[in-house]
Symmetry: C2
């Protein structure tokens, strides 16, 4: 069954263009919102039922926050937008020539305009087998898996009689010194050294060893050098062993290798690379090495002015300042908004506009009370940067939930180390 | 490796008796607490890392509360009890003759006294294949599985074009009219009719059909008849179809059969029976039909005055009032305390005392704002009973977490329908 409108649209409304949005992350959500007052029918399709506030995912992975603290049903976020239907379904392919999206369960959904915002997964640079031993962090399921391994390691350390095994269980290796790796590495000491000390009898959780491995010459390589150095010092103060120029050559269940050196560790976390969602391949347009779609200046793809790609799935066009657009929430939000705006302009018979990224600043936390930030006009560090980070994140979290209640709930969970979050469940 | 003391106990302390407690539910937790000031070493072993506040599990299953709201790490609950070690491990068998507990990973733990409090799972009365299509509700994993099915049914209903399928997706059959069945059936209308209405476009969640099937002549069969009738009326007012004398003869992926009648439903929940934890069989003592251990008046087992069984795993001795001890949190807590007390008495060279159950009242909620209660001295119903229920549960929840914060957090989550809890994740 194929039609160009959502099936239940009343006949009188059937002349409105149908905009389909794939993905309910920052790109898709902000695109949908930008179409709220447009004279179109919008269908948002996601394989899950929930939007994840990804910048805080590392806190779920380390049991500081609970999965439910940073998720909200997509349909709930868009409930007041009467022109929008949300569907939970797996998209198997896009047929750009016929203008239909194919769902895994067999039906097709036709569109007049399409925004693809399905994001990325982690990349193991050709070593896909490493994923089993070194999970990455993109979804709530990933965060829960890492939380199981993180908490489970301490449980096994408390149980074992073997001192060597105990040390390996209490060693955490994080591969990749970008924002995710730095934030993960920075929060573990705090959880281990404050949250859990009095709970164990046979181990001292303060003995936790955290090793952050970065293949390049410095952590946070996309930040100014001065901030990278600052971040490394802050991490080292927290007890994290930061090793730059350390390219991982092998990942095993019991450790990692850097050339001929081997580090024994039972928990290895991957924060080293991204690969675009495989849906990109079905578009039949040029992709970059990571499988991302090289879009036109207005975010549409060559030959298909009605099809836009935004967020981590897109290689954004060159920016006036010559710098690449970072793969962060801001980039996806702004891309989503631009694509939606361009659809409105096209419907109105106007020219589309090129995407210009407004960098509102890059921020990364180091531990629970420090951060570094590059705001363009200023570079900030330490406690001040952390408060700035907190304010910004609450503002954006609040963007999709009740402002007052989210602040209270989140602050409560964050400052009390929500104990219930330390939950190990079977997979 | 076998020794009679926790391995890391300093030699000076090695003369203290070693009490091993299996299970960190209400029975095990309250037993451990009752040994806090005793001159013994305590080891609590559980297959999970967390205690679950089971009376609220049905609210996690229906996405009113989050898993983290009703769980806490067992080791955190016992952190201040310096004589106690908590281990997360699977126990494969008990060798009562040698006084050792065998862990699945191979090691053995020797004990001087043992308290077995491993509880029960659901029973399908010989139809184990039904479990796949009709999951029960005992653990956080169970609750998450039911939540997935419950929320997923609405997602699929919103997606389908087939009206018959849609109706079957929005039909929920609950098998078993005991407290769990009644509480599950009572809360679904509220979630469906208030929490989710505005989130869907193609379905009206108020069309949800809930059918509660009870094999016997009335719901809540262990309560006085008058309260059963009251509960049934309350449920019917909420729109639940209550069918008594309706014994399920077959469970299928697409529906249930009651004799020759068939009810089409895509979600079937099981709340009909319990079977004891299989560990009971390794004790080599008489069991009842459900596999539970028939204990002596002092909760020890025949021939082993050092081995106690409490909670849902035990058939408690006949009570002075002639009524059976219900399989609820109260029964487990009091049994755990009695077993611990009897161990202290035995160590002091005193006689053990028989277990006498103090019924503080039976309560079941019906929906979000009604309950029925049998307090012995009074029978309560409606709003008043609900407030009583709330007060009681907050008191006990508070018993294992910070009193003020848990009240705030829980009240917040409960009254705002914590939206994040509506989380569907892959298994």
């Amino acid at each position: 069954m194929t039609n160009t409108q959502p099936p239940d649209t009343p006949p009188a409304a059937r002349r409105r263009p149908h905009v389909v949005i794939l993905g309910g992350g920052f790109g898709g959500l902000y695109a949908a919102r930008a179409l709220r007052t447009a004279s179109v029918d919008v269908t948002v399709i996601d394989r899950t039922n929930h939007h994840v506030f990804q910048p805080l995912l590392y806190q779920v992975a380390t049991a500081v926050l609970a999965p439910t603290d940073i998720t909200s049903p997509i349909r709930h976020l868009l409930r007041k937008q009467r022109n929008t239907v949300v569907l939970m379904a797996e998209v198997s392919a896009i047929d750009a020539a016929r203008r239909v999206v194919m769902l895994a369960e067999g039906t097709e959904i036709a569109y007049d305009y399409l925004i693809v915002a399905t994001g990325s997964r982690h990349s193991y640079f050709g070593h896909d087998a490493w994923e089993r031993d070194a999970p990455g962090l993109k979804s709530i399921e990933d965060a829960r898996e890492i939380r199981h391994r993180f908490l489970g390691a301490y449980e096994r350390a408390e149980l074992t009689e073997d001192a060597t095994e105990r040390a390996a269980l209490m060693t955490f290796v994080i591969v990749g010194g970008g924002p995710t790796g730095v934030e993960l590495a920075g929060i573990i000491p705090d959880v281990a050294k404050r949250g859990m000390v009095s709970d164990f009898r046979r181990i001292d959780t303060r003995d936790t060893r955290i090793i952050l491995l970065e293949g390049g010459p410095r952590v946070l390589p996309t930040y100014p050098e001065e901030l990278s150095a600052h971040a490394q010092r802050d991490l080292e103060q927290l007890g994290v062993e930061v090793r730059v120029n350390s390219l991982v050559t092998k990942v095993e269940p019991m450790g990692v290798c850097i050339g001929s050196e081997r580090i024994e560790a039972r928990t290895i976390l991957w924060a080293a690379g991204n690969a675009a969602s495989p849906l990109a391949r079905s578009l039949g347009v040029p992709l970059d090495g990571a499988g991302r779609v090289i879009v036109q200046p207005d975010l549409s793809i060559p030959g298909h002015p009605e099809l836009f790609v935004v967020g981590d799935l897109a290689v954004y066009p060159p920016q006036p300042n010559g710098r690449p657009v970072p793969g962060v929430a801001q980039g996806a939000m702004q891309g989503g908004r631009r694509a939606a705006q361009n659809i409105r302009q096209r419907i109105a018979g106007e020219e589309t506009a090129p995407f210009v990224y407004m960098n509102k600043g890059d921020l990364a936390t180091i531990g629970r009370y420090k951060a570094i930030g590059d705001l363009g006009y200023a570079r900030i560090t330490g406690r001040f940067a952390w408060w700035f980070w907190l304010l910004l994140h609450i503002t954006y979290l609040a963007g999709f939930r009740n402002r007052v209640s989210v602040l209270l709930e989140w602050a409560y969970a964050y400052f009390t180390y929500r104990r219930g979050a330390r939950l190990i469940t079977k997979r």
